[in-house]
Amino acid sequence: MKENLPILILILPFAAVPLAVGLSFASAWVNRLFVPAVFIAGWFWGWETLEKVLSQGPWSYNLGGWAAPWGLEIVLTPFNVFLAGWIWLIGMSAWFYGLPHWVLRRGELAKEGLFNALLFLLTGSVLGLLFLRDLLGLYFCLETALAAAAGLIVLDQAKDWKNGFNFFFWGTVGASFLPLSAFFLYASTGTLNLDDLLSQIFISKNAGIVLAAGLLGIPAFIVPLIFPSPRFFPRLAGQTPAFITGFISSVLARGLVYVLFILLFFTLDLPGFNQPFWLVILEYLLVPLFIWAFILAFQQKDFQQAVAFVSVAQLGTLLIGFILGSKSALTGTLLELISQLLVVAGLFFIAGTLQTASGNLPLSRLAGLGRQKPWTGLALIVFAASLVGIPPTGGALGKWYLIQGALERSNWVLLFFITATALLNLFYFIKLIVLIYEHSDAAARHTSSGAAKIPILVLALGILVLGVFHQTVIERFIEPALPKAFQNISVPNVPFLGKQVE
């Protein structure tokens, strides 16, 4: 069985989907025991896999014995298994957080079963995005993830299905560009395998196809990355439970950023290929766009809306690392990626704990939170500190490496962006601390379930663990995940496209 662990890890959440629906008709408690059992099994297998990939290096597994590039290939690396472990943790946190929500609604067992099934489907699809090394496989996983996420958005509401339709429809339209991009790559190389693609492009010396395929693939990422911005998904905060929004934003958007990392630095990273000037300008236009998103976040009077904007704006920090593209910047990006997974989920969980019955959460409701709910207040401070970049949080070290990357490249524009967003965050952070410890008597009584506190504290602890053990995380998981040019491996310097390769 051990030799088939890669496929078992991937199939487990998909196999749990029909069982989660079926068991909900049998007994609520059987279903509620089944869900953590699946998550624990996933961790157990993940742990065994991690031990193997840490000792023996990346694990390539060919589905059905068909070797890549003909067959589907699953590649497990220390980083993607590590990332998958955090995604399992957030999935289980979302389930545990939502449990009191379902216990109170005793008559909605089928809906609870469907929620669990969609949670597994989304988790499985995101794991597929992390592990599969086939362009069409990525498309099918992305489409499945979009369907599961859209199902989660509309599951617990009966008023506004438009958000679900818009998310699924426009996400699907964007995702349709991925097989189009794959077609262009296949037509010029004859392969769909991500690792094989680069070597085939290298042989064909077709730099134009890299640009065309890269640009065609961009729309596939847009909708999941701008979710849940209130600009594009109005009224989402009042309709969909915050923990569902948080889970989708955290896991799907950040999972796709990892896919983008693989595509940009392992599949389309043609040596000697220089980006055209207009593309560089377009990349730099992202800077004011994300600063604008931060400003919008800080203008919000509702905490949930602010968190929704911040979750999108934070992606700018990750994309900046890709634009810089140096070893330090990519190290910072991958560390920041894991931190953001936890921070975004945690902030939405907190917002869900405090919101009013109508689904709103005015900032004034946070006044005195630190005194009335000290643990929740503390977790909020940890998440905010990670956003600002205050040690010893994971986000602090991620930003530190990003700043180092910008300094190494002498890229003052991006350095300005990173420091400006950190300062904006700091300003908001100070305002938040004053607010939550301002009053001795809480402005509003928070009557949320105590059980909801556990996943919030687990995520906050995760942020601190990432920060404290960042050196281990970087050495064992992140550095082996970087492009070979940034690893201490001797490679021949082959001139390509008339230029010397670094």
Partner: protein
């Protein structure tokens, strides 16, 4: 099939795909939007199909398999879109969506 005829076929597929993309963008009817997306997706599948070529007397199966999977998968996706559209119909009583600004106001 000569290269030129293949080029013409691909151009026609591209025009059909772009027309469907334009219509799905401008249409306000949820069912029509979904159907135009299916046409767009079919044009992508047709492009894949056009990538199949004979090699030692056999047609390269991968583009055909890719096109087949895309079509089968797209029918399922269309069914999900229709479920969401029926949800909108159930709640709002109409399948038309109003043109809105970014803040969701008409």
């Amino acid at each position: 099939m000569t290269l030129n005829s293949l080029l013409i076929i691909r151009c026609l597929i591209l025009v059909a795909g772009l027309a469907a993309l334009y219509r799905l963008w401008t249409s306000t009817h949820l069912i029509k939007k979904s159907l135009f997306w299916l046409i767009f997706q079919a044009s992508v599948a047709a492009l894949w199909l056009s990538g199949s070529y004979p090699y030692h007397g056999h047609w390269n199966p991968l583009p055909q398999v890719a096109a087949f999977l895309l079509i089968i998968f797209s029918i399922g996706v269309l069914a999900i879109m229709l479920v969401f559209a029926s949800g909108v119909l159930r709640n709002d009583g109409v399948l038309e969506i109003k043109k809105t600004n970014f803040k969701g106001h008409s």
